[in-house]
């Protein structure tokens, strides 16, 4: 760093016109770094990550992922491994459209669906066509890119909200077409309607079929690595820079030799191609496709992957896919409820740790919640024994502790959980209205109420609890890092 006299943080004196004040702008430029100087474990992680060069990061990721099948069961490999990689591939394609070119494309999943259905038509008993993947994948990818081009051409004059509406319509039209339209071609429904297309062939290359989960996983891993490397090179090329330039300022880009319309179309086609490719793998791995696979929830999930990871960051997309899929699968209703329970209490505790300063206040609240629980449970036991002693659902080793702490009425008081839920909502509303020490004091019953609601209501409805927890996790992560886990904060100068 250039030195400015004795104190390097101060601007150097202006001693002549032709000697610019080196150091002033630099100090201003580093304001973000100073503000974002992470401490402790987080800082160590970020600094370590920044220190590792991109190829090494990729090798690390690939090595870790390649080792997964060695110890994971086949079911886990499917839900955790294969789906994470599918999300990562889809996220990488969406990242080109949204992250690089800045086009809000809400019809993205339709390309994924188109690819999956097209592969299914070419490799299933539906029409008795059984192409090898070596032939069908290039055809499908080309066709999907072409479809992306068509959508891009029809909406090339649209920007922002308008583009979002048109593409969303396209995405929904695809679902309706597949589900209800189902035109009859060669004496058969083209898409199979609500039943979809079943018995899709596995991926096969020159007589070699990928049938086991492990084989499919490795093929996907290879695809992700190849796409990652390709996109990395592309983003550091004239095309990648032109995409980012048109995202920043389309008019300036257009007057600076960049053909904006053509580049937008290229982004659409490129993203669609990756989605179509992913669709092929998806169809072959699941061996069946139905319209429901390509509806809004998946679109939202993929957007969450890209935004959580950090728009425009390749490593971020992969990390986002891991975080989203792993946490979502972890909360699956088939899993023991203790997973969800531990995550629930962990989130509550994390929120308390993040929001309460100084530490003694945190200690007071946590202590207060524990104390309040024990006392309430005791009073309940003495005054209204029938309202106590209900069974703890799937408590595992935690069951005795929870039973002694949370009020759980014996069966027969069915509405208790619902009332507690209403009380919790009211408590949270009041919390947002009051300030200062009153808020801290009110936090104690509110947190306890949350635990009561969890143990009485949500724990019995794992499907609901899954979405609520998943949503809170995303809200929490995005509040902590609004630019995404590995994204750089976008700055507008006013």
């Amino acid at each position: 760093m250039e030195s400015g006299g004795d104190n390097p943080d101060l601007p150097a004196p202006l001693d002549s016109l032709d000697r610019p004040r080196v150091g002033v702008d630099e100090w201003v430029a580093q304001v973000e770094q100073r503000r974002e100087r992470y401490t402790g474990l987080a800082g160590l992680t970020y600094r370590a990550l920044a220190f590792v060069p991109a190829p090494a990061r990729l090798a690390l990721f690939a090595a870790f992922a390649a080792a997964l099948p060695l110890w994971m069961g086949r079911g886990d490999l499917f839900t955790y491994g294969i789906f994470t990689l599918l999300y990562a591939l889809l996220g990488l394609g969406l990242n080109v459209v949204v992250g690089y070119a800045g086009l809000l494309d809400l019809g993205y999943i339709a390309f994924f669906g188109f690819g999956a259905y097209f592969y299914a038509e070419l490799s299933s008993p539906q029409y008795g066509i059984h192409w090898s993947a070596a032939a069908s994948i290039p055809v499908v990818v080309a066709a999907t890119s072409l479809l992306g081009l068509v959508l891009g051409i029809s909406s090339r004059r649209l920007l922002g909200d308008y583009l979002a509406i048109v593409t969303l319509f396209f995405g929904q039209a695809f679902v309706v077409f597949v589900n209800v339209g189902n035109p009859t071609v060669a004496g058969k429904g083209l898409t199979g309607g609500p039943n979809g297309i079943a018995d899709i062939d596995p991926l096969s290359f020159f007589g070699y079929e990928l049938t086991t989960r492990t084989q499919q996983f490795y093929f996907l891993l290879l695809s992700v690595v190849v796409v990652l490397v390709g996109l990395h090179f592309l983003s550091e090329s004239r095309t990648g820079r032109a995409w980012r330039a048109l995202r920043e300022d389309p008019l300036a880009a257009e007057t600076m030799t960049i053909p904006v319309k053509r580049l937008k179309l290229m982004a659409f086609a490129f993203g669609a191609g990756i989605a179509g490719f992913t669709g092929c793998i998806f169809a072959s791995v699941l061996t069946a496709v139905t319209a429901g696979n390509f509806d809004l929830p998946l679109l939202i999930t993929i957007y969450a992957v890209v935004i959580l990871g950090g728009l425009g960051s390749l490593t971020g997309v992969v990390l986002g896919a891991i975080v989203i899929n792993v946490s979502f699968q972890f909360l699956a209703p088939e899993n023991p409820q203790n997973n969800a329970r531990i995550l629930f209490y962990a989130i509550v505790l994390l929120l308390l740790v993040l929001s309460l300063r100084p530490r003694w206040r945190l200690a007071a609240v946590v202590g207060g919640v524990v104390g309040l629980g024990l006392v309430t449970r005791l009073v309940d036991e003495v005054l209204a024994p029938s309202w106590a002693g209900g069974p703890v659902v799937e408590g595992g080793r935690l069951a005795p502790a929870i039973g002694d702490w949370v009020v759980i009425p014996a069966p027969g008081h069915g509405r208790f959980g619902s009332f507690a839920y209403v009380a919790l909502v009211v408590a949270i509303l009041i919390l947002t209205l009051v300030r200062g020490s009153l808020r801290t004091a009110l936090l104690v019953p509110a947190v306890y109420l949350a635990a009561v609601v969890w143990e009485n209501s949500f724990v019995e409805q794992p499907a609901v609890a899954r979405w609520i927890l998943f949503g809170s996790l995303l809200i929490g992560l995005m509040t902590v890092r609004p630019q995404g886990l590995l994204g750089t904060p976008r700055v507008e100068v006013v």
């Binding site: 004239r238 032109a242 007057t255 030799t257």
Partner: protein, 264 residues
């Protein structure tokens, strides 16, 4: 300086609805010349730039660069032919690095396809080196102001004056034949304004650019112009040397009003 104009506007008209912004305008700029456009606010100066760069299409007349008409070409094509501009309200690629700003605008000069870029084939690699070299060369022209350590910083982190300089650097990275500068000294302090005056001179003398510049600061206009064109309500009211234009009765009237012009 040759006599043949590099850029020539012949009888250019532009109206928005019923409002005539530019009418019957003839302007020419010879190779190696610095021509200033002056005029009060709303005189049609920036519209003139928008017409030349293809953002607007003239209703009538012709705009010719080195014998070839620019009318009807898309803006990116016009820039490729050799017309680069800066904006009055800065339009940098703020969230890209300083150097990337200059690399991005060389899109039109490079040819590598997507496939070549992805696989880093020889042409893509060669062009990448060339793009990098040109960007660094153009930035080096600005000396300490856009010195090496700033190259990797995001453009938004630059000071206002440096953002103006970066806009000029970005325009030069397209290797233009004529440079259009829209109020390069706007919002600068006297020291920076003086520096900008020298810089514009150097852009012509050392870098060999032909320059058409809109400027309000008369010290800058006096310091740089070979010729001055004064506009008012879209009509050319005076043209010639700075001294001739600055004392022209119609120019004084346009700036100060009729009564003051008479009493002068």
């Amino acid at each position: 300086m040759s006599d043949r104009p590099l850029l020539e506007l012949r009888g250019v008209d532009k109206a928005f609805g019923g409002l005539t912004v530019v009418s019957e305008l003839d302007v020419h700029v010879a190779e190696g010349e610095i021509v200033s456009i002056i005029g009060p606010n709303g005189a049609g100066k920036t519209t003139l730039f928008n017409l030349i760069t293809g953002i607007y299409r003239p209703d009538a007349g012709d705009i010719v660069l080195d014998g070839r008409s620019l009318v009807g070409l898309p803006p990116h094509e016009i820039t490729k032919r050799g017309v680069a501009r800066t904006f009055q309200m800065l339009r940098l690629f703020l969230n890209m690095s300083v150097k990337e700003n200059l690399m991005a605008v060389q899109y039109g000069r490079t040819r590598a396809t997507v496939v070549e870029s992805i696989f880093r084939l020889p042409r893509a690699r060669r062009e990448e080196r060339e793009v990098n070299r040109v960007a660094e060369e153009k930035l080096a022209f600005f000396g300490q102001r856009l010195a090496g350590y700033r190259w990797e910083q995001p453009a938004y982190s630059l000071s206002y004056a440096n953002r103006r300089r970066l806009e000029i650097a970005r325009a030069t990275a397209t290797e233009p034949r004529i440079l259009l500068l829209d109020e390069p000294a706007a919002g600068m302090n006297p020291v920076e304004t003086h520096e900008m005056t020298e810089l514009i001179g150097k852009l012509r003398d050392n870098a060999g650019h032909t320059i058409l510049v809109i400027e309000h600061d008369m010290h800058v206009v006096e310091g740089i112009s070979d010729r001055v064109v004064a506009l008012d309500h879209g009509v050319k009211i005076a043209e010639g040397s700075f001294d001739a234009v600055a004392t022209d009765a119609r120019v004084v009237e346009a700036y100060l009003g009729l009564r003051q012009a008479e009493t002068k």
